[in-house]
């Protein structure tokens, strides 16, 4: 197979389109995430939509029977108008905007809106691939695949190092459009020379002119009718500050973080934990401080408060626009603000804290679920001084816990009880768990006495509130609700609380769908039926195709590659915390691996059967299982091993594509590309949302190895 083609501009053009596609993907997914209020369920679904639309466009692109020249013209028109296409996608994301600020749009509407919004951008990526293949000849498929993947890796680096934090979304899309415009010129220059500049230039000028207006309109659609004081991107998302009179509202990616006038909420989350300890001198607060929590902690007159806030951008915003008492608290000499990963701090802390307060909101992603796992609680236990108390604050209910919420609370309770001998709970809208090595005296009279001793006069959490909160009748109702709930503890590598949090969020969006999903957890029948059906389908397919099933191989390779990437990223996040740049680089490394693998496979394709390449993926999956087993005991190992493993994953999955192209007698390169994307789409959704939290990382890697076995069996026939 030859990789060096007679039209190098085609490969460069596709590379530029690949880079542009990645930039557009990140920007548009970020917008959709903001409109769906950071719900990872939605992110997984939208990513799946992106991949499926791209796959569909890739297949559609093969329908017209064009020669190279016509394909080149089509490519020119497509890439030339891409700048406007990307802007159109950005504008169409407003379809997902809810009716009013902060409301959740209906799930089906979000999905429909994402299809409409992503269609222009995905069309560019999918059609560009197909037409580039046509324009340069079928044997060039692998070269095009390699070029696209490598360029996407580079674009990832560019975005995370430079563009993401400094440019607005509209301008990032203009940069992406510029890549496509340049590529269009490259495609048509040899034929049309200076005339080839017309369309791309016009599109770029129009895009550059419209971009500020589109960006501003989309921004405003996030906050209809609001007075926006500041919007700025940070490493962790898009931060916004709104003002309503004296009230300041802080949000990130559309998710409400806190407001400046919420003393009641602040009191309710920190006062009870502080009163449970007879004399909390050293306090560690993980999150929840900037909305007034820090101010409330200081009222109890501790000697030292360590406050962890991972986002320096948010701290800077609060420093200028936050409530006066919070700003004063941040400047208090007793307060030490640590901008680092809270889990790392816990792991390294000496047993010196009288009180550790962990805010554990309903996890929107696996990162947030790390604060509800056994490993986190064990680290916290080691950080406590003798007689110290760990308090975990999480959303609950004043009156009745629903099914998903009961499961989540049950999982947290079981996890705490597996670590601490004594665990108590005060159920409520903000439920407070406390855990200690010693039995904690939680009698309301004792706590009310401490209020008096400390000369505190809270507006909400006074003696009446304490008595109500700790009423045995309420505790008994709560215990009944969670008693038969989840008995599975949440681990870093098996974040059950994450799944249960997603189910809780799904209940808000669509109670019916949530009920159906929860039923799947309890009933084995659908799983057995699906396994039997898939087995029959497979056996039929394997028998039908004498030459094997390269489409199946491409789909499974794409899916397994995506799954293993997610496994490694979640493992890294769980152990090392969210390091934004590192994650971006890891993804880039993975794509570089794919490019390398595809190039190597293309070079030696004739000597390597497809089944062997698939076996390599299976081998990598088993290596990952082994690595995961030692990772918790060797956290340093993780940092060193993740990138090489990602390169291996990328390399072995990237190698499948060219081999599948060679092995296929029926499907074209574009079709196989589509299969690859479909597999990746399914994996993106199912793995991140369900498989990882349900099965755990090692089991997911094992399932991947088993699925690779399916692909091997399907392709074991000789060519």
């Amino acid at each position: 197979m030859e990789l060096v083609g007679k039209a190098p501009n085609i490969r460069r053009s596709v590379a530029a389109a690949g880079a542009a596609s990645l930039l557009a993907q990140v920007v548009l997914l970020r917008e959709m995430l903001a409109f769906s209020q950071g719900n990872e369920l939605i992110l997984g679904a939208v990513l799946g939509v992106w991949l499926c639309l791209t796959a569909a466009a890739s297949v559609l692109g093969t329908l017209p029977a064009w020669d190279a020249s016509r394909a080149r013209r089509g490519l020119y028109l497509l890439l030339g108008s891409a700048p406007l296409g990307y802007l159109a996608s950005l504008a169409l994301t407003m379809l997902a905007a809810p009716d009013a600020l902060g409301e959740a749009a209906a799930l089906q509407w979000i999905l429909a809106a994402s299809v409409a919004a992503l269609l222009p951008a995905c069309s560019v990526g999918g059609l560009a691939f197909s037409w580039a293949v046509m324009a340069s000849g079928e044997p060039r498929t692998t070269a095009i695949y390699v070029a696209e993947t490598a360029a996407a890796a580079g674009a990832g680096l560019l975005f995370h190092f430079l563009l993401g934090e400094h440019l607005a979304d509209g301008w990032i899309l203009v940069v992406a459009g510029g890549c496509c415009a340049g590529a269009a010129v490259g495609v048509a220059w040899s034929e049309w020379r200076w005339k080839s500049l017309w369309l791309p230039s016009a599109a770029m000028l129009a895009a550059a002119g419209l971009s500020p207006w589109v960006s501003a309109t989309v921004e405003r659609s996030h906050f209809p009718g609001e007075h926006v004081m500041s919007i700025r991107p940070s490493r962790y998302g898009l931060l916004a500050v709104l003002s309503r009179g004296d009230q300041r509202v802080f949000s990130q990616d559309g998710v409400l973080l806190f407001t400046s006038e919420d003393q009641v909420a602040a009191e309710e989350t920190v006062n009870l934990p502080l009163l449970l300890h007879p004399s909390p001198r050293r306090v560690l607060l993980l999150g929840g401080g900037l909305g007034g929590g820090l101010v409330e902690v200081l009222r109890h007159d501790p000697e030292r408060v360590d406050y962890v806030e991972v986002d320096p951008g948010l701290l800077a915003l609060v420093g200028t626009l936050g409530a006066a008492d919070t700003r004063a608290a941040l400047a208090d000499p007793r307060v030490h603000v640590v901008t680092a990963d809270g889990r790392s701090l816990l792991r390294q802390a000496a047993p010196s804290y009288d009180l550790v307060i962990v805010h554990a909101p309903i996890p929107q992603n696996a990162l947030m679920a790390r604060y509800s796992t056994r490993e986190c609680f064990e680290d916290a236990r080691h950080a406590l001084a003798p007689g110290g108390i760990l308090a975990v604050v999480t959303p609950g209910s004043d009156t009745h816990l629903g099914e998903a919420a009961s499961q989540r609370h049950g999982a947290m309770l079981v996890t705490l009880k597996n670590v601490f001998p004594f665990v108590g709970v005060a159920p409520g809208a903000e439920t407070i768990f406390w855990a200690s090595n010693l039995l904690v005296d939680a009698r309301p009279t004792v706590l009310a006495g401490r209020l008096r001793q400390r000369e505190l006069h809270p507006v909400q959490t006074g003696p009446t509130w304490l008595f109500d909160r700790l009423l045995p009748m309420h505790g008994a109702s709560y215990q009944r609700a969670v008693a038969t709930a989840s008995t599975v503890e949440s681990r870093d590598f098996r974040p059950v609380v994450y799944l249960l949090g997603l189910l809780e969020n799904l209940q808000r969006l669509s109670p019916r769908l949530a009920k159906a999903v929860m039923a799947l957890r309890y009933s084995p029948k659908p799983w057995i039926a699906a396994a039997v059906a898939l087995t029959l389908v497979f056996m039929g397919w394997g028998l039908w195709h004498k030459r094997g099933a390269p489409g199946l191989a491409a789909a499974i390779a794409g899916g397994v590659g995506m799954s293993l990437q997610l496994v490694l990223l979640v493992a890294y996040q769980s152990l090392r915390g969210h390091l934004y740049h590192a994650l971006g680089l890891m993804l880039a490394g993975s794509m570089a691996g794919m490019a390398l693998g595809a190039w190597l496979a293309g070079r030696f394709a004739r000597r390597v059967p497809l089944a062997h390449a698939l076996a390599a993926i299976g081998g990598v999956a088993l290596v990952i299982v082994a690595a995961l087993s030692v990772a918790p005991t060797l956290p340093g190992f993780v940092g060193a091993a993740v990138v090489p493993l990602l390169l291996l994953v990328g390399g072995t999955t990237g190698a499948v594509y060219p081999l599948a192209v060679q092995a296929s007698a029926r499907a074209s390169g574009a079709h196989l590309y589509a299969w690859d994307l479909v597999g990746a789409a399914a994996a993106a959704f199912f793995t991140s949302v369900a498989a990882i939290p349900l099965l755990g990382l090692s089991a997911v890697a094992l399932v991947c190895a088993a699925l690779v076995g399916v692909a091997i069996a399907a392709n074991a026939a000789k060519a």
Partner: protein, 352 residues
């Protein structure tokens, strides 16, 4: 052409390698920046191995004081011998020169001291009144006058039957039953149950001197220092299932009980060996011993050994054979209330 293609191949290969190298280097630099972040953490708190490991500051000490002859008529004890045993025990436990200094290690002169006796089984198996009188006298010499001493147990009748209430006199200690003083309204929640605490404990004393009796117990296996604190709650009758485990440990983990108990002196002058905790003639045997400790779990562990030894002399089966092993000792150790490993206890035996 061919060389162009080859150079193009090499270029693409290098492109891929560069991408991979960048990723690795970038990750390395981000790890370096994480190390910078870690040094920021280190300005907050740092970890040492010693800090991480929970190390007991030395072994807990249990002093066993025996006298050749202390019991006189039946269950009565010789006051002089008892005083000598108390003196020796307190000195050996505390390392002080005399019993006054020893007691001042555990109680302040301004404290109100509760004497938690065991009067359940009546005169023949209750805490010896001679022991209570002697220790009360010693406390008075240490500055804690009799009016700030309260001998208490669940029922006034038990105090009367054991003659402790009889000794109640002006200037001397008071004897108060929980049925008289009452219990707190609020329940204290424990992992397996809930109870209301004696108001003597919660309102009338600052520190407690636990004076249990060593007895075999048909349900718990043994009653000693830990089980004696069942007398501080209103509903011990609900906690006699499952060998009283984990209830004994949980009750002792209640902060008001755990934190106020300063010293334990176990009455093992004539332990009940079988059919306990009630007394039956012939079921008790003289051991002529008093045990002293601040760690109630360690004391009970040593006492268990004494009980088993006495039972063996009577050819009685071990508690384990009867399914009466006091498993609450291990639970209490797990709760951090003390040490139940005999090898990790410093046992001092004294004969007076």
């Amino acid at each position: 052409m061919a060389s162009d293609e080859q150079s193009s191949d090499r270029r693409r290969f290098l492109q891929g390698l560069v991408g991979a190298a960048l990723a690795t280097a970038g990750c390395g630099s981000s790890c370096a920046s994480e190390r910078a972040g870690r040094s920021e953490i280190s300005t907050v708190v740092t970890q040492t191995e010693a800090a991480r490991t929970a190390v007991l500051q030395g072994k807990p000490r249990v002093v066993v004081v025996r006298a050749k002859k202390v019991l006189t008529d039946g269950y009565d004890a010789d006051a002089g011998a008892v005083r000598a045993m108390l003196d020796a025990g307190l000195v050996a436990l505390s390392g002080e020169k005399n019993h006054t200094s020893a007691l001042l290690r555990y109680f302040k002169p301004t404290d109100r001291v509760g004497l938690k006796i065991n009067g359940l089984a009546g005169r023949n198996a209750a805490t010896h009144v001679e022991v209570v009188d002697a220790i009360s006298d010693m406390l008075a010499r240490a500055g804690i006058e009799g009016r700030r001493q309260i001998a208490f147990d669940r029922f006034t009748r038990d105090l009367t039957a054991s003659r402790i209430a009889d000794k109640s006199r002006s200037g001397g200690y008071r004897a108060v039953g929980n049925d008289d003083a009452g219990h707190e309204e609020e329940l204290v929640q424990m992992p397996s149950s809930a109870s209301r605490l004696s108001r003597v404990l919660t309102r009338q004393v600052d520190g407690v001197l636990n004076l249990p009796v060593l007895k075999q117990h048909m349900l718990a296996g043994m009653t000693g220092a830990l089980k004696n604190n069942f007398g501080c709650i209103h509903n011990p009758n609900k906690m006699h299932v499952d060998n009283c485990d984990p209830y004994v440990a949980e009750v002792n983990a209640v902060p008001a009980i755990r934190d106020k108990q300063r010293l334990v002196i176990m009455d093992a002058l004539r332990p009940v060996l079988d059919n306990g905790p009630s007394y039956q003639p012939g079921m008790a045997a003289p051991a002529n011993a008093l045990l002293f400790a601040t760690d109630p779990v360690a004391l009970d562990t040593v006492a268990l050994g004494i009980l088993e030894g006495l039972r063996a002399k009577r050819a009685l089966p071990t508690l384990a054979m009867l399914g009466q092993t006091p498993t609450y000792l291990a639970t209490a150790a797990r709760f951090g209330l003390g040490v139940n490993d005999r090898a990790a206890i410093d046992v001092v035996e004294i004969e007076v």
